[in-house]
Symmetry: C2
Subunit: 188 residues, 2 copies
DNA sequence: GACGAGTTGGAGCGGGCGCTCAAACTTTAC
DNA sequence: GTAAAGTTTGAGCGCCCGCTCCAACTCGTC
């Protein structure tokens, strides 16, 4: 849609504004008016560049999910500690996007069928990735057990993010690091 | 407000309808129309018994939180396994209420200041309860370490509930039970 | 059965929602 | 400089929201 420089710049401003509003107000609080005020544009400009409010939101959601799982077709060289640390870094490094990620996973996933599919597909990839890493590090674990431990670890990390977003004074990084300790080879 | 039997019965129907709609559609999807259709009443009847839509929702939210933490002033005789099993039982026994619990914690807690306070107060009580149980069972743990482990356990349980609600085919009970195993005295 | 108190449905209010549209303006290519 | 294509603004449309109001109706009491 955008073909001139100004249009592309406006497009970027809209996505940035959408990101901010989504983080602050959540999925349903993200109104067109809020986005347009934040981006300092009129409604007409928005619809010149996006087909609908949902389109802009989905674009931001895609970004958030990609930030958590940056390399969907990755070759699988990372350790559990790497994967976990990368997630912690994502969360602490871009809390706005982390907020969106958690809100989408829950309020979106539990009420919107299409979003649930996206969230579950993303979750499945993560479980696979973590399971793979765990099997490499801990050949002593049965394959089924590795997957189960991966699921537990991801659930715990997700829960910690939630409580940290609710109360940022919580020592999220320390809590998260302790989760990985337990899965180390020397604890087998 | 309700003084005749019919009024009290209607009040119950409204709360039941609110519970169902909240679980299915989430906080923002719970419209007055949806509640009234579900309860098969007119809007006038609703406002004869509740001061606002929010009042009915808060009533249900209170129920959900109380279901997770049924005895806020409890004496502290439960073991970690008891506390964890009680939570698992709540979740599997009343998934509707569990849905509400998770949705409120996230979409409510992250966007509404008053709800966040409620959620955090509830969470703090739970952490205290779990920490207390863990200290009794595992005197070898430093007090700070017991609290940290309690936080990790609660976060993991919450995360597991989330993913189980997104995908009920997940073996939630098995995954949850494994979390407690690790904290047993004989693993010290 | 008469009567006050409580309960009921639903039309309709003010307001915010996502979105449209046309006229004015800006950018770009020649 | 010209003109086609792209961009912008903001009033306003239709819709649904939470909520009000009141005439009609039931309930409980005597």
């Amino acid at each position: 849609m955008a073909r001139y420089k100004v249009g592309l710049a406006t497009r970027r401003r809209i996505l940035e504004a959408t990101r901010l509003v989504l983080g602050e107000r959540g999925l349903d609080g993200t109104t067109l008016k809020a986005i347009c005020q934040r981006a300092d544009i009129g409604a007409g400009s928005f619809y010149n560049l996006f087909g609908s409010k949902e389109a802009a939101i989905l674009q931001v959601v895609r970004e958030a999910i990609r930030a958590v799982d940056p390399d969907p077709a990755g070759s699988g060289e990372d350790s559990i500690a790497d994967l976990s640390a990368a997630f912690v870094k994502f969360v602490t490094g871009d809390p706005e996007l982390a907020r969106i990620y958690v809100q989408i996973a829950v309020s979106g996933g539990l009420t919107d069928d299409r979003l649930r599919e996206r969230v579950l597909a993303h979750h499945e990839r993560r479980v696979y990735r973590f399971t793979d890493a765990l099997q490499r590090e801990r050949p002593d674990l049965a394959p089924g057990e590795a997957r189960v431990e991966a699921q537990r670890l991801i659930a715990a990390l997700t829960g910690l993010v939630l409580y940290w977003l609710l109360d940022p004074s919580q020592p999220f990084e320390e809590l998260a690091e302790g989760l990985v300790e337990r899965l180390r080879p020397d604890r087998a």
